[in-house]
Subunit: 428 residues, 2 copies
């Protein structure tokens, strides 16, 4: 990989998500050589991907070049690569661009979409974990609007205007709200040859309520907000099949829909090569101790979504959201220097800052430890927090301006079909 | 195409470039039905494409949804389609989404890249006429930077860092300047494992000076500015071959370069079906009279780049730039209503507002009728004019902020490899 030798120990971080970049930042200008590896040359702010998918923001507002994040540290290297194997006994990783030895290895590869083994759904549905996937959804929504204007019959038209979102977590809820805004504000104004009432948005959730990890109050409010926007919410509903045209559910329901967005679950994206027992079977997360060391190793760590740490307060692991990743990344940055200097390590204690979801303009739900609320104030809090966590001053300004513009004009301006999305052919 | 019948005559406009949108706007709320057809769902502000290609702007800053432009006119329809044939005797066009009859037809399809019949260059070089092409160039530049960091030997590294731009018109000059800024400001800061001096930018022009249609003063200044930025300018040089690795020129020169950007010429993109004599042989432009009627037809018009109109002041036709297209579009909007109302038409008189090109921060050349200047003031004029001509308030603000940000930080922030570009395989 063409990384020069250094007198400092080499720390290889795989993954430039929240955990990886916090760790790299925490180690900046310390006596280590850092190699940050990612499949993309940018960090993705995943909580706002749904706004890219719905035409509200362009990717550069929520993505940030990884080289810009680490540039201040002279001993830091970035490599654009896909790591597919590691050999703990030789302290070596193997990627598509070659091998690299490490002194300390940090696996912060996060999660990928979980289709629960359903090949048909994997083939025909749209996941939304990455920027290109969000752009595919944007293209498909806009292409289907265009196709609806020239549909041969009513049935075809309804299929193009039927949007099914699977998964009632924050991603599904926020995306359903954003697509409802397209229906309520964009369709009547820019598509006067389409009938807005022909467009339907269905949100499907397997549990008995939306946003299962949040409070009942948040779930009920989110459902109320979504219904007010015209989203049809189906709880206790699981998709059993999708052939690119027809969605089938466990309740025997069938829906014609050209668009099925899959936000129903994630599974870890581990690297091959560690002992099988270090990995949790169902969720593909690495079992780590309170210092994020993977079970059985002292110099291999897992951080964030892919780390499974049981603590007294979190006997089933931490939620797979940004905050545990950020906090673990920061702590491990410090702990690693302690480890190198043979000092005692500090155990991880998750500081739960609460959770939130936005449903549309003026509408959000927020659960803090002692305070649960919803509505306009929650919406402002949601915006403020997201702007603050976003990486980079420029991105904050651009996102803020876009939100202000959209708020005043009821518009989503990035409605561009730049790379048309070609659906795989459904059996006819 | 599912366009309803109307009591008004139907005007079909093919192409949503400068000419097409001005024409559609000029006809807004007049007693006509307008059908605007384009291959993309957005208008592209081509003069700033080079900033997308060099990571300075995201596409949504310079592209604008066509439906937003025409939404105020109730009798206007947009169709996303590729028109490939027209039948003047039946007054019918044929597109991939079906046929459509017209009362008046406006061809504003512009130009496409001209490879002058060289299949090898067409296969391996990067054109820059469309947003996806500009994004391909952005990806390729950034991918080559990454590949340079892991190059196996010096020769390979130099190939990855050698950028050859063919064509010394405004597009080539502006892109060369922008890539030079990547070399001068981004490489030393974000790629500390690359040696900036290894990066070379070559600008090749067949004529004896850059910016051939502009004043000699502008040409000389542009060359001086480019050289100061480190661009190697080769005039009287024509590329004869490119196999994806090696560029060959008429002077016998050979250069190893993984990137060849082709901005050397355009040719019209006509629609099949009109009599051959209506089309100019070399440039593929429609011969039109002073009312933009295509020779031999009274209800078929050509506008902008694809129209070839000989006038006393412009015996060889108008320059293929934005202004003639804008002015012809506006005039034809009015003339068409005169034609329908059986009033005399007004002939086109081109109001030449001058030409300009920017080379980098604080550097531009401007030719007005009586006033030719360059430097910082020219650069401000260039920015002001481009901001004013840009479609949409939001786009103006976003572009302005991005320019301000880049100016202060010497940065280009949209350096994202979202869709990696895969070069066609060169023979090994």
């Amino acid at each position: 990989m063409n990384i020069p030798n250094s007198k400092f120990p080499r720390v290889v971080i795989i993954g430039g998500g929240f955990a990886g970049i916090q760790m790299a930042k925490a180690l900046a200008n310390k006596a280590v050589q850092i190699v940050l590896i990612d499949k993309h040359n940018y960090h993705t702010f995943q909580p706002l991907l749904y706004q890219v998918a719905s035409g509200g923001l362009e990717p550069d507002s929520i993505a940030y070049p990884l080289r810009k994040i680490i540039k201040k540290h002279k001993q830091t290297f970035f490599r654009l690569a896909n790591v597919f194997k590691l050999d703990a006994s030789r302290q070596l990783i193997t990627a598509d661009i070659g091998d690299l030895s490490y002194d300390y290895l940090v696996i912060a590869t996060g999660t990928k979409t979980n289709f629960f083994g359903n090949a048909a759904i994997e083939k025909f549905s749209m996941p939304m974990k990455k920027v290109p996937q969000a752009l595919n959804i944007r293209s498909l929504i806009l292409q289907n609007f265009e196709k609806a204007t020239i549909a041969k019959n009513e049935n075809d038209r309804k299929g193009f205007l039927n949007f099914v979102i699977v998964g009632g977590g924050p991603t599904g809820v926020e995306l359903a709200g954003a697509i409802a805004e397209l229906k309520n504000h964009i369709l009547p104004r820019d598509y006067h040859d389409l009938n807005r009432d022909d467009m339907k948005i269905h949100l499907l959730e397997g549990h008995e309520r939306l946003l299962p990890p949040m409070s009942t109050n948040a779930s009920l409010k989110a459902e109320e907000f979504l219904k007010a926007l015209g989203v049809e919410v189906h709880c206790k509903t699981i998709v059993t099949n999708y052939d690119g045209k027809t969605v089938s559910t466990n309740s025997g329901h069938q829906m014609e829909a050209e668009t099925l967005i899959w936000a129903a679950g994630v599974t870890g994206a581990p690297v091959d090569g560690l002992e099988a027992k270090s990995l949790l079977e169902r969720s593909n997360r690495y079992r780590v101790n309170q210092f994020n060391q993977i079970e059985g190793y002292t110099n291999i760590f897992a951080l964030g979504d892919i780390a499974y740490m049981e603590t007294d307060n979190y006997p089933n692991g931490h939620p797979q959201v940004a905050q545990p990743a950020i906090q673990q990344g920061k702590l491990l940055g410090k702990n690693l220097m302690r480890l190198i200097n043979k000092q005692p390590l500090k155990p991880f204690r998750y500081n739960d800052k609460g959770s939130m979801a936005t449903i549309g303009r003026n509408k959000a739900v927020v659960d803090l430890n002692n305070f649960k609320f919803s509505g306009v104030f929650a919406w402002f809090i949601w915006m403020f927090i997201h702007l603050m966590v976003l990486v980079g001053f420029r991105n904050r300004v651009i996102v803020f301006f876009n939100w202000l513009y959209s708020y005043i004009n009821f518009d989503k301006a990035a409605r561009l079909i730049i790379r048309p999305f070609t659906k795989k052919k459904a059996p006819s």
